[in-house]
Structures are given as C-alpha cells and as structure tokens.
C-alpha cells in the first residue's frame, strides 16, 4: 500500500521539479538579451574586447556611453522627433476614428458593412503595396520629408484598426443610452461628447497605449517618407547607427535601450490597458 502510494508521489515531485527547472530556463532565456544589453551598454570597449564573457556585469559603470549616444550620436534629437510624430498621430487617429466608430456603431445606414470591409482591407494589406505610390504621392503633395506628412500617413494607416476597435466597443453600450437623450431632444454631438465619449474612456486608453507603442516603434513609414537627418525618428536613427557603429557594442546597446525605454515605460505603467486592448478581439472573435 505504502509503496504504491509513494511511487506516483515521487514521480509527481520529480515532474514538478523538472517543470520548474524548464520554466526557469525559458524565463531566463527571455530576460537574458535585455540583461546583456544593459550590461554591455555600461561597459567600456576595452572591457568588452578583453573578455568573451558578455554575461558578466560591468566592472565600472560607464554611464558616458549613454551621454555620448544621447548627445554626440544625436539620439536626443531622434527621440524628440519620434515624440513629435507619435503624439499627434495617436491623438489624430483616436479623434477621427472615434467619430467613424460612433457612426458605424449607432447609425444604420446603407454601405455600413461595405465601409467596414473597405477599412479592413486597408489595414490587412501589406505596407509594401503602398510604398511606391505613397513615395510619389507624398512628393506631389509636398509632404515627403516633412513631419505633417508622416503624421498624416500614420493616421490614415491606423484608422482601420482604430475604427474597428472603437466600433466594437461602442456596440456593447446599451442603445437606450443613445435613444433616450435623442427623444429628450439632445443633439447627436451632445450624445457623442457627453455620453459615448465618457463611457469609452477605458477603451480609448487601451487603444491609445497600443497605438503609441506601434507608432513609436515604426520603421517603414519613416524609411520611405523621411530623408533629412533632422527629422528622423529613433527607430531610423538606431537602424543607421547599427550600420555605422556595428563594432561599438556598448554604443548600439545604449542606443537600443534609449529607443526601447519609452514604449517599455508606457507598457509598465498601463499594462492593464495594453493587455486588455490586445485581447478584446480574441475574446469576442
């Protein structure tokens, strides 16, 4: 009796142990690149060249790698550029899509579904399909190599997703909340502004956090639309730096960390919104 009971128990303990060892390894694998980037960014090139053990912490903290990347390589300007592109793009996309989402959620009109399909097409189709015409169009409209140009295309590119996201959320708002004030004579603008917008705050926040990360991290639009170094966002700056400073591991590591810090901070601060934003669709679908 005893042994029969002990056998599976011992096996179970072993399995649990194995499970924990394995999962610790996987988690370590996920943290390792970040840890090493942090270590590398704080080492001098002499220390890096002196040992092949990249996983050891720096002996002396060389913060000047960061100041050099920030000032001399010009990361400060790149970060500012990204900020000046990202914030208006997110605000613009949310504003325009809150109107279209409102209309698609609460009005029955012909072509409602057709508009939806049009938007979905615009958001699934690869960017490559747009590159050449956008390159020409932006030239014709004198929008190439300008900040408003990039912002405008970002907004257009994100509108499909934003509209769906908001429309789907707004559909869950009881229709009576729209109909009752209508009967009382409230204007549609009042309903949008005083009822629907306040109720949508959490989904607007989730969408805003997602969009901020995506636009901040974008490379392709600026690759096609921006040539001047003075307008380049941080992704493009880092990609160029990766080519130029490829053997300066400490510099590229510091650059990567600078590029990653804002979206990472936004994620850590608004984790709840970020995850709920990503998952709404999957739960409903």
């Amino acid at each position: 009796m005893e042994t029969r009971k002990n056998g599976p128990d011992a096996r179970k303990t072993l399995l649990t142990l194995l499970f924990y060892v394995f999962s610790t390894l996987i988690v370590a694998l996920w943290l390792l690149p970040i840890l090493i980037a942090v270590f590398t960014s704080l080492k001098s090139m002499d220390e890096i060249m002196g040992s092949s053990k990249m996983w050891t912490p720096p002996k002396v903290l060389h913060w000047e790698n960061f100041t050099r990347v920030w000032n001399k390589v010009g990361m400060s300007a790149y970060v500012l550029n990204t900020f000046l592109i990202t914030v208006p793009s997110v605000v613009g996309a949310l504003l325009v899509s809150s109107l279209s989402g409102f209309a698609l959620a609460f009005y029955r009109f012909r072509l409602n579904k057709a508009v939806l399909v049009l938007f979905i097409a615009g958001m699934l189709i690869p960017f490559q399909m747009l590159m050449i015409p956008v390159f020409r169009l932006s030239d014709a409209l004198s929008l190439r190599d300008t900040r408003p140009g990039v912002i405008l295309f970002h907004i257009a590119f994100q509108l499909g997703f934003c509209t769906f996201f908001l429309r789907n959320f707004m559909r869950t708002i009881p229709f009576s909340l729209v109909e009752a004030p209508r009967i009382d004579g409230a204007s549609e603008w009042t309903i949008y502004r005083k009822i629907i917008m306040p109720l949508s705050i959490s989904s607007l926040a989730a969408l805003g956090v997602l969009e901020f990360t995506w636009i901040w991290n974008d490379l392709l639009w600026s690759l096609v639309l921006i040539q001047s170094d003075s307008l380049k966002p941080v992704t493009l700056g880092l990609a160029n730096m990766q080519g130029e400073f490829v053997s300066y591991y400490n510099m590229t590591a510091a650059g990567s960390i600078i590029a990653a810090i804002a979206p990472l901070g936004v994620f850590l601060l608004f984790q709840r919104y970020f995850i709920s934003g990503l998952t709404v669709g999957a739960e409903k679908g």
Binding site: I34, S52, Q128, T163, N168, T235, L264
Partner: protein, 296 residues
C-alpha cells in the same frame, strides 16, 4: 418610439458626415494608392524615365529570377517557423501559466519584448549573435573551446538567428491572446472531465482546445499575416544579406524598388505579397463577417 422619417434622413446624412474624415483618409491615402500600385505592376519603370507597358512580364519574371525564388522560399520558412514557435509555444506556455502562482510575473516577462521595437530587438540580437564578442559563441565556447561561428553571415544560420529574435519578440502576443481565450472557457466541462478520470492531455485535446478554436483562428491568421510582412528585423540584422541570401519578399520588394529602381517589378512583388496575405486571412474575414464582429 420610432424616429420620424425626417430625423432618420437627418441621421443618414449625419452618419455619412461623421464617417467622411476617416473614409477620405483611408480611400485617398491607402486604397487609391494600392490601386495605383497594381497599375504600376504592369509597367517597366525606373522611377525617372517614362513607364513602358509590359503586361504580365513582371509577374512572369518571377519564374526566371533566382533571387525571387530564394526570397519566396525564405518567406515560407518565416511563416512556418512562426506557426511552429510563437504560436504553438504561446499556446503551450499559456496553458502552463494558467493557475501558476507566479503566472502574472511570467506573463509580463514574456510581454516585455513585444513593447520593444523590432529595430531595438534586431540590434540587441545582432550583438548576441556576433562572431567575436557575441554571448552565444561565448556560451558555446564554455563547452567547445575556441568555438567561433559567424551566425549572421552564414546561410542558412542567419535566417535561424533572425528567427530567434523574431520568436523572442512575438511569443508574448499569441501567449496573451491564448490566455484571454482560456479565461473565457467555462469550468464545468473541464471539471466534469476530471471527475470522469480524464488525463490532463485528454482534457486539453478534447475539451479545452476545441473551445479555444475562435482564438486559435485569430492567432494563426495574425501570425501568418505578420510573418508574411516581416521586414524590420531583417533590415536591421542582415539587410537581406550576405548576397541577398536572407531576403524575404518584403525585403526583396524594397531592394528592387529603392536600390535597384525596378519599380514595376517591385510593385509586382508587393501585389503577390498582398494576394498571399488576403488568401491566408480569407477564412478569418469570412468567419467575422458571419458573426458581424469584424476585428483586427
């Protein structure tokens, strides 16, 4: 209460007005350019001189172009690897994380790479895979002395290396979507199966997995669409090299268009890429259309 015909008409007009800004931007800046791109794909054009109509010549050129063939094959490798690792891995990890005491902490850890751009991911992993000072070679050298391998310049290891970075970045998305899906599955059928003496695997195979199907469709579709579009990581880590060996269709299109000025040929590649993306998402869109819950 029913709205009078007048207010109804008023709503009709107002709804068009509200949609107008979004509609104008999407049509003017995305859909019309896409149509224009399709048109370009039937021309031979270097971006400067006048375009010459060549019919389907650009498309037929695919079959004779070894660079295209390699790029196409690489793209398929990316798609298959994406399904095998981030998607399947995300499913497995989501199942294990559920009910784990430190589940939330682990979830955040897998999620961090997702917030970092592909460019930063690529830069970090380029360092990891470097020949002389990379961590990977350093770790292997602990067991095999003087081990030195130039990961990013040897074929097909460069693609494998970039896939590592890609999986690292992408796993979080599918994991969090599967976790959300798992949390909506009712407990009753699972508990009933436990009472019936079903093993954990049997429960997953016959209860959980079938109920997860809608989420699985979303995750698989999005993963395939995203892997077809892969650009940033390759652009940063190898630029498609050496000698165009690690290009995917998105990179090949970019190179043909903006470095070699074969605009027509580049346009044709992008049309093919779009067709592939539409093909893999048809099933998903149809599903959504039926349920009137279009999303993503």
């Amino acid at each position: 209460m029913r709205a009078s015909p007048r207010t109804k008409k008023h709503h009709q007009a107002l709804s068009y007005l509200l949609i107008l800004p979004a509609f104008a931007l999407v049509v003017g800046l995305l859909l019309l350019p896409m149509a224009q791109n399709l048109y370009y794909s039937f021309f031979q054009w270097d971006g400067i001189s006048k375009e010459i109509f060549v019919g389907l010549k650009n498309y037929l050129a695919f079959f004779a172009d070894p660079n295209f063939a390699r790029s196409f094959l690489n793209t398929l490798v990316w798609v298959v690897a994406t399904l095998a690792f981030p998607v399947l891995g995300g499913l497995i990890i989501a199942n294990f994380l559920r009910g784990l005491r430190l589940g939330n902490l682990f979830k955040s850890i897998f999620f961090i790479p997702l917030t970092i751009s592909f460019v930063a991911t690529g830069a970090i992993w380029s360092n990891m895979f470097s020949r002389d000072l990379g961590v990977l070679n350093g770790l292997i050298a602990l067991f095999i002395p003087k081990f030195k391998l130039s990961w990013l310049t040897s074929v097909p290891l460069n693609t494998v290396a970039m896939l590592f970075a890609w999986v690292w970045q992408q796993l979080g998305t599918s994991m969090v979507l599967f976790l959300a899906g798992l949390s909506t599955i009712p407990r009753d059928p699972v508990e009933a199966s436990i009472l019936d003496g079903a093993s954990k695997w049997q429960i997953f195979r016959h209860v959980t997995f079938p109920m997860l199907q809608p989420v699985t469709t979303v995750v698989i579709t999005m993963a395939m669409v995203n892997s077809f579009k892969t650009f940033d990581i390759i652009y940063v880590m190898t630029r498609g090299g050496p000698y165009r060996s690690s290009e995917t269709l998105a990179i090949t299109m970019f190179r043909e268009t903006f470095t070699m000025f074969n605009m027509g040929y580049g346009a044709a590649i992008s049309v093919l890429l779009s067709i592939l993306v539409i093909l893999v998402s048809v099933f998903y869109i149809k599903n959504m259309w039926k349920k009137d819950l279009l999303y993503y």
